[in-house]
């Protein structure tokens, strides 16, 4: 969408001077339209013009994708923390367990990996940006960055430290490179001080980054202080 700024009929009083101040450039002005952007625009307009999809269907699909988020994964984790039977099922067959929980994720194949006192799991896709979108929404920019994708498998402890996460040397770091058809979710350890919390309260402690494995959930006192 483009504002028509050639129109000079705006009705505010001219007590300020146009054209002599430097403004921060709009994002659209900082680099030219890329080939991929032209392609996307052309394809989208053609699909709508030819009646293959409607603009509202496209908008609805974007709304659906944006509506998915870490709250979904957090609910699954909180259920696993409170229901040992569900947890066992989740670790044995993540896809089936999450479907039973009530989130449709097929045809995605979900592998849930459990953090323990001796193993800390981290998820990356070194080839692109594979991510459990059904449970966490769209991946953050850093997850797709070349720096994260290359360094997470090469020096995971240094990467975790930059996220503020220090894992003791005796704990095994297990990096999962999501290169093919599986998608991964980390089941973090339930934080200390969370005894007696309800499943809903527990879910509030579970963050996106904890389910990717670059951090660990805070107990209720620390979570409240942040």
């Amino acid at each position: 969408m483009q504002d028509d700024n050639t129109d000079d009929t705006h009705d505010h009083a001219h007590d300020h001077d146009h054209g002599t101040r430097d403004f921060q450039p709009d994002l659209e002005d900082t680099h030219p339209f890329t080939e991929a952007q032209f392609l996307e625009t052309a394809l989208r307009e053609l699909l709508i013009e030819k009646g293959v999809i409607t603009a509202d269907e496209l908008r609805g699909a974007i709304e659906f994708m944006d509506g998915r988020g870490a709250h979904l994964g957090a609910g699954v984790v909180a259920r696993a923390w409170t229901d040992p039977g569900f947890k066992a099922r989740l670790l044995a067959d993540g896809t089936e367990a999450v479907e039973l929980y009530g989130i449709p994720i097929r045809p995605t194949h979900l592998v849930v990996v459990e953090n323990t006192a001796t193993v800390h799991n981290v998820i990356v896709c070194t080839l692109c940006s594979c991510y459990p979108r059904n449970l966490l929404g769209r991946p953050p920019l850093w997850y797709k960055s070349r720096e994260y994708r290359s360094r997470a498998v090469r020096e995971p402890r240094a990467v975790l430290a930059e996220f503020g996460t220090t894992i003791p040397a005796e704990v095994e770091i297990r990096v999962h490179d999501s290169t093919a058809d599986m998608r991964y979710l980390v089941l973090p350890m339930r934080p200390e001080g969370s005894d007696g919390l309800s499943e809903v309260e527990l879910a509030e402690l579970v963050t996106r980054d904890a389910m990717v494995g670059v951090t660990v959930p805070r107990g209720p006192a620390r979570a409240a202080a942040e």
């Binding site: 194949h109 020096e155 095994e172 297990r174």
Partner: protein, 96 residues
């Protein structure tokens, strides 16, 4: 039919020149690891990416590699590992 079972020792083939949409990361080629689990059979991305049907489906495995096998100068814990999904044609049995 899966050729490998969990615990089997495997080595990724030393193919460093295959062109196209290859989903075996460069950094694990010619590296030795252990089958962590068999994931089932999936369409072959190396043909699927070119508008073909990806058939026959290929057995897919999760293979566990010691960090020090992947990066001899790895500076983290001795027990640290990376697990990577690899399609069967990229793996060969090894006794190492």
């Amino acid at each position: 039919m899966s050729r490998f079972a969990p615990g089997d020792k495997v080595r990724v083939i030393a193919d460093f020149t295959r062109p196209g949409h290859v989903r075996t990361p460069w950094y694990c080629r010619d590296k030795a690891g252990v089958i962590e689990r068999a994931c089932g059979a999936f369409a072959n991305p190396e043909t699927l990416a070119y508008a073909k049907d990806g058939l026959p489906k290929l057995p897919l495995y999760r293979v566990r590699f010691a960090q020090r096998e992947l990066w001899p100068d790895y500076g983290g814990g001795a027990g640290d590992v990376v697990e990577i999904e690899i399609y069967e044609p990229w793996l060969k049995a090894t006794e190492e």
